[in-house]
């Protein structure tokens, strides 16, 4: 039978622990800190006024579709830096089912060598 106190038991590993009660207290403190910081914000902020309009150094505002950063542009720098790696991975993912089977045979062969031959 599961008791109420079982819910509050600590999951312990040698390097850390997890207790829902401790987490709950910490998250409440964190929200309190955020709320206090928010309290220092500017009081004159008004919604739906000129204040909330986009300002792009005097340039006209773009269409909404154009303003949104597309998925393929996110991490563009990362992709460029690792182009060499991705070109290899792309070659590996041919989409050809014969290649899928080839990889299976390769792994089976390696596994056989490790287990059966060595």
């Amino acid at each position: 039978m599961i008791e109420i106190q079982d819910f509050l038991r600590t999951l312990g590993t040698d390097s850390g622990f997890w207790n829902p009660l401790v987490w709950g207290i910490i998250i409440i403190i964190a929200f309190l800190v955020v709320y206090i910081i928010r309290g220092y914000g500017k009081k004159e902020y008004k919604k739906q006024t000129e204040q909330t309009k986009v300002f792009l150094s005097g340039n006209p505002e773009l269409e909404k579709e154009e303003m949104h950063v597309k998925a393929s542009n996110i991490y563009w720098g990362f992709m460029e830096s690792f182009k060499w790696l991705y070109s290899g991975l792309d070659k590996m993912h041919t989409g050809n089912v014969s290649d899928y089977i080839l990889w299976f045979v390769v792994i089976m062969g390696v596994f056989f060598i490790i287990l059966g031959v060595i």
């Binding site: 599961i2 590993t13 992709m79 792994i107």
Partner: protein
């Protein structure tokens, strides 16, 4: 015996028989009324789930209990000493996997109600859906090698048809074809392995085989074939390439059950390594030159190598991908990597006489992560399906600002995002913490790679969150509305379980995961339960 005891006694058979029978009744009920059919399918899944829960209660009531069900008799061994009867043997690991399958089945069938509403051919869809569930449960519960192959085939054939369900989309048919080629090839090698074992020991029963196995050269070949076939079905790199195709093209409700089928294959590999061959791994040495190396260490190192490759390639490909569902599929590949990293690490130390705690801890983390992965990745796929349902878009480049129209779906995505990246207070955090801790004991580099890739996984889903849900409201999505309630309910069920496990991981670890770990490590209990006959 009262009716509940009778129900529990026959439960392993009923868990497979009810969805199987339901599958064949579905087209008939479909002739009457579509709503009645949908209700019937949900009833079948709920009934099966109730029986799974009854069986789970029975298994967990006594430490180390194994429920054995023999088809067509009471004794597993006939008078001549032959173990010819098919039997289902349910221990802590089987029931753990069955509970995962239950959650996925319930969520999947509720989600299907609205998600598939606009499609034709739903009688076939639900028939195949129940067949897939029956196959998945069969793979999980059976204690017979050939029976395992049969259920693997049932689930594979049903899965193939469901992956290609949207036949108007060429890529879905292509993915279905690839899946059946891969599944048939894997299953063929598994059948070959089963034949090798049967030819030597005149038995197909896993426990009997485990007691008899000599670890001869032929047995080694059988092990290679079994693990290779199941590893391909589990989507381990570099045999993972079918997975993004299949997961990405299938309807999301189907993908959810596909996750269960993939994990059932992983379960099969665990059962073969730890139970069927477990006794031999402890005392077999492989010779490299003049050095003798424990076989479990050699096998463990190989599996750890594959797991690192799985995590790394899965994450990198997910980072590059711009198709919503394919991206989650690659992330799912990486998540499978975490499980096998823990299992490989466990193998390197599990049978060690000097360090017993690290292996058991790694195994605990790995098995716990099977549950967490099914829930986290499953929820993300349901969210991807909801986005597709509302916008008819799958490319992340075409999406944006959906948080303004789909508030609940966004919250569910956020929960899935945090969970799959191993962030507290979600369930992925607890299992990954245990995996990091235990793999660090084996080799610190393993834990470092695992943590780095988990951070990359967070980056992957931050990209999705930004490109699909944040940003200005796009004019083309002005009319987009939140998805129907049944879809929200299915996502909500999984999200609640994720948060519950995340908040109280110790509860789940002690009551569900630990019995599964015990069942794996104590293979003699599994064997003696059959060899010693069943308890009526």
């Amino acid at each position: 015996m009262n009716i509940i005891d009778e129900l529990i006694f026959h439960s392993p058979a009923l868990i497979v028989a009810i969805p199987l029978l339901g599958a064949f009744l579905t087209p008939l009920i479909s002739k009457i009324n579509d709503k009645l059919r949908n209700g019937f399918v949900i009833f079948i899944v709920l009934l099966t789930s109730a029986i799974v829960l009854l069986l789970a209660n029975d298994i967990y009531s006594v430490c180390g209990k194994i429920h054995t069900y023999v088809f067509g008799g009471t004794q597993t061994i006939t008078e001549g000493g032959f173990a010819i009867r098919i039997l289902f043997e349910v221990d802590g690991l089987n029931i753990f996997m069955a509970l995962i399958a239950t959650i996925l089945a319930i969520a999947g069938v509720i989600y299907s109600w609205a998600f598939m509403k606009e499609n034709t051919g739903l009688d076939k869809y639900y028939t195949l859906y129940l067949l897939m569930i029956a196959g998945m449960f069969g793979m999980i519960l059976t204690g017979d090698m050939f029976n395992f192959f049969v259920f693997l085939e049932i689930s594979s054939i049903a899965s193939c048809a469901l992956i290609a369900f949207w036949t108007n989309k060429g890529k879905a048919v292509d993915a279905g074809f690839k899946y059946i080629v891969i599944s048939a090839t894997g299953a063929l090698f598994i059948l070959f392995a089963v034949a090798i074992l049967y030819g030597q020991y005149n038995a197909l029963n896993m426990a009997v085989l485990a007691s008899k196995i000599q670890f001869s050269f032929l047995d080694k070949i059988a092990l290679v074939l079994l693990i290779s076939g199941l590893a391909m079905k589990a989507g381990i790199v570099p045999m993972h390439m079918w997975l993004p195709d299949a997961y990405g093209r299938a309807p999301s409700s189907v993908t959810l059950i596909l996750i269960g089928v993939t994990q059932a294959s992983l379960y099969g590999a665990l059962r073969m390594i730890f139970t069927v061959y477990g006794g031999n791994l402890t005392n077999t040495l492989n010779q490299i030159g003049d050095i003798n190396i424990d076989l479990n260490l050699l096998l463990g190192i190989f599996i750890v190598g594959l797991s690192l490759l799985t995590i790394f390639i899965g994450v990198l490909m997910a980072l590059k991908e711009n198709n919503f569902k394919r991206m989650i599929a690659f992330a799912a590949v990486a998540e499978i990597g975490y499980m096998i990293l823990a299992i490989g690490s466990a193998l390197t130390t599990a049978f060690s006489t000097t360090d017993t705690t690290t292996g058991v801890m790694a195994l605990k983390g790995g098995i716990f992560h099977i549950l967490n992965d099914a829930l986290d990745v499953g929820l993300l796929f349901l969210v991807a399906g909801a986005v597709y349902y509302a916008t008819k878009e799958t490319s992340l480049n075409s999406l944006g600002g959906l948080a303004r129209n789909m508030k609940y779906t966004t919250i569910f995505f956020l929960i899935g995002l945090l969970a799959v990246s191993g962030m507290p207070p979600m369930n992925g955090f607890a299992s990954k913490l245990i995996i990091y801790q235990s793999t660090y004991q084996v080799n610190p580099i393993l834990a470092i790679v695992a943590i780095l890739c988990s951070i990359l996984l967070l980056a992957v889903f931050v990209k999705v969150f930004h490109s699909a849900f944040l940003g200005p409201k796009l004019p083309k999505f002005d009319e987009v509305k939140e998805v129907p309630k049944s879809m929200l309910l299915a996502m909500g069920i999984i999200a609640v379980i994720i948060i519950f496990i995340g908040l109280f991981p110790d509860l789940v670890l002690n009551n569900i995961v630990q019995p599964a770990v015990n069942a794996l490590t104590d293979h003699t209990n599994y064997i003696s339960n059959v060899i010693g006959g069943i308890q009526p």
